[in-house]
Amino acid sequence: MNNEAPASHTSCGWYLIFCVWIIATSGTLTSLFFSEVMQVPICVLCWYQRIALYPLVVMLPLALFPYDTKIIRYTSPLVILGWFTALFHVLVVAEIVPKSAQPCVQGIPCSETYVNLLGFLNIPIMSLITFTIIGVLLFLSKKYSIGNNHE
């Protein structure tokens, strides 16, 4: 509509954040599908990752219209929190972290996995991949935005 982003750097940064939004929204809808439609029980670690993921769906569009690179700074704590929780969750499932060390409510053990695609892709792994891609894309868009400021 308005051509506020003429420089190619800026528009590249815009598309990167747009991609982050697409990934965050896919992740959100997928996790909602698992819990609300397939009725997979949600363990505590999944909730922590949801806390980190869901706000991105709402926050990122605000930085797309108009384009605002400050969003990278505002979302990074969430992404870092989510990434580490996902990593911890993957380690719990892989039994690298001992069971006693996991903060899980009785009844829904985080070490159990309910969904398994292609033989290795369970929910914590999907979450870790999602947060990794989001982190990398945000980092790239940060680089573009810095490059743009120097011009």
């Binding site: 747009f18 697409i22 929204t25 896919s26 809808l29 909602l32 599908f33 439609v37 569009p61 219209f65």
Partner: protein
């Protein structure tokens, strides 16, 4: 295409894909249980109400400390009364609340003396006296049960007995097999109540009656 149009189209696409995925998933769901888990629905001597020859069996997994179970109690009673002789209800223990494990043992001990239903009614009616912040207080529950005409000594002995512990363990195990994660959970002639609600339960029961009679 400008950025706003792009964003809106992708958002709409997301909505459509999600709705389509839900529709596809729901249409593929079979509401019946797999044959190998069906034996988990029944336990000999589980508390029952309604005609013994009824062809429609409602199996209810319940926790005496669960508020929704208490609200559903008169509604399930109505169903059994309305379709007298055609519908019976079988109660299975699912002590999901803290402290409820002992309370269901006391209920089972009352059941041995033929007082399951009065005891259950009493516990449901006085829930606020023995359940605090979703935690059961077995001693208060026991004091309540003791107001019924029961052999107190026998009751005390029974609820801590190994036999009753075994019975309750079997219910808990069967609940796990049937993936009971919340109470009350209903099964009508082997079909689980998928969407929770009183009207949904009536529909499921009426459907089973129509098939059986």
């Amino acid at each position: 295409m400008n950025n706003k149009t792009l964003f809106i189209s992708v958002a709409v696409l997301f909505c459509l894909v999600f709705i389509a995925a839900v529709a596809v998933y729901k249409s593929q769901q079979t509401p019946s249980l797999a044959n190998e888990v069906l034996p988990a629905l029944e336990r000999i001597n589980a508390p029952t109400k309604g005609g013994n020859n009824a062809k429609v069996t409602i199996v209810e997994f319940f926790d005496p400390a669960c508020g929704t179970c208490s609200q559903f109690y008169p509604l399930v009673n109505n169903l059994v009364k309305k379709y007298q002789g055609k519908v019976k209800v079988v109660m299975r223990y699912a002590p999901l609340h803290k402290g409820s494990g002992d309370v269901v043992k006391m209920l089972e001990a009352a059941h041995l003396q033929g007082q399951f239903w009065p005891a259950l009614e009493l516990l449901f009616a006085n829930q606020q006296r023995w359940v605090e912040h979703h935690v059961s207080n077995p001693q208060s529950a026991l004091a309540g049960i003791k107001t019924l005409p029961l052999d107190h000594k026998q009751l005390e002995k029974d609820w801590q007995s190994r036999k009753i512990a075994k019975t309750v363990d079997q219910d808990i195990q069967d609940g796990k097999t049937l993936q009971v994660r919340a109470t009350p959970q209903f099964f009508v002639n082997g079909k689980p109540l998928v969407v929770f609600g009183y009207q949904e339960l009536i529909d499921l029961v009426e459907e089973a009656i129509a098939q059986a009679y």
